[in-house]
């Protein structure tokens, strides 16, 4: 049996990379910080806009700021003990290794599918031992019973794998929050299971 103090202690030793600080990344980061994660490495090049506020963890007075710096401010207000390493860069094959190769786990939090594919392929080929949690399919509203978690080895997929963002099917808060928090839950579950397994084998 483990209590919340033990969970915080387990998580406080972990480093999680978050690729993107939009709807998925900002919400996933806030949940992980609330759980007591030790360190987050967050990268994004974008700026907070008013349109982002329908689902992303930013505030009206932060519009115009770089997302990673605004997010660092918001996360620090929740838990000043979490080490936050933020990078105002566009993530690509040239810097993924530098950003994420030392992480215990990586969360994919891009918006466009080609970016998701680039990150997945790069991580699976170059860092197959680092568990990767991706999100696919959370546009629109309703039907949340179709949102699910799948696993293939070290790759975890959260979402319904079908609802694509479009003009008439925008990403909005509830389903984006559901999927980003599923990603955070996969991270928490993974580290707790790893702890329980190690505790069991060391007996």
């Amino acid at each position: 049996m483990i209590n919340f103090n033990t969970i915080r202690e387990i998580l406080s030793k972990k480093v999680v990379g978050i690729a993107g600080a939009g709807g998925l990344g900002s919400n996933c980061a806030s949940s992980l910080v609330r759980c007591g994660i030790g360190k987050l490495i967050i990268a994004d090049f974008d700026v907070v806009s008013v349109q982002n506020l329908n689902r992303q963890f930013y505030f009206r007075d932060q519009t115009g700021q770089k997302k990673v710096f605004a997010l660092r401010d918001n996360l620090t207000k929740i838990n000043p003990d979490c080490i936050l390493q933020v990078h105002d860069v566009k993530i690509g094959p040239n810097n993924i290794d530098l950003l994420f190769s030392k992480c215990d786990m990586v969360v994919e939090a891009f918006d466009d599918a080609s970016g998701k594919q680039m990150l997945v392929e790069h991580m699976l080929i170059n860092h197959p031992h680092i568990p990767l949690v991706i999100a696919s399919g959370m546009a629109g509203w309703g039907d949340f019973e179709k949102i699910r978690k799948e696993r293939s080895g070290n790759l975890y997929i959260c979402g319904d794998q079908s609802t694509e963002v479009s003009e008439f099917y925008p990403p909005i808060a509830p389903r984006v929050a559901i999927v980003s928090n599923m990603q955070a839950d996969v991270v928490v579950e993974y580290f707790i299971n790893q702890y329980l397994k190690n505790a069991h084998t060391s007996k």
Binding site: L24, G25, D111, K116, S136, G137, V165
Partner: protein, 67 residues
Amino acid sequence: MRILLNNREEHFNANSLTIKEIMDIKSFHFKMLVVRLNDNLVKRELYGETVVTDGDDLKIIHLVSGG
């Protein structure tokens, strides 16, 4: 052959099929995919020559935009 396709058992009337053939039969036509055969990544350019046989575990994951 019987394989696991996205965690469900599927039966095909052939001893082996390429990933491309399975995608055509099952109508997987999304642009962005991640394909894993027995938990190994299969790159897009190899879909046509990677052969799936009885007992294999094939995952075809759709990547759709949004976040």
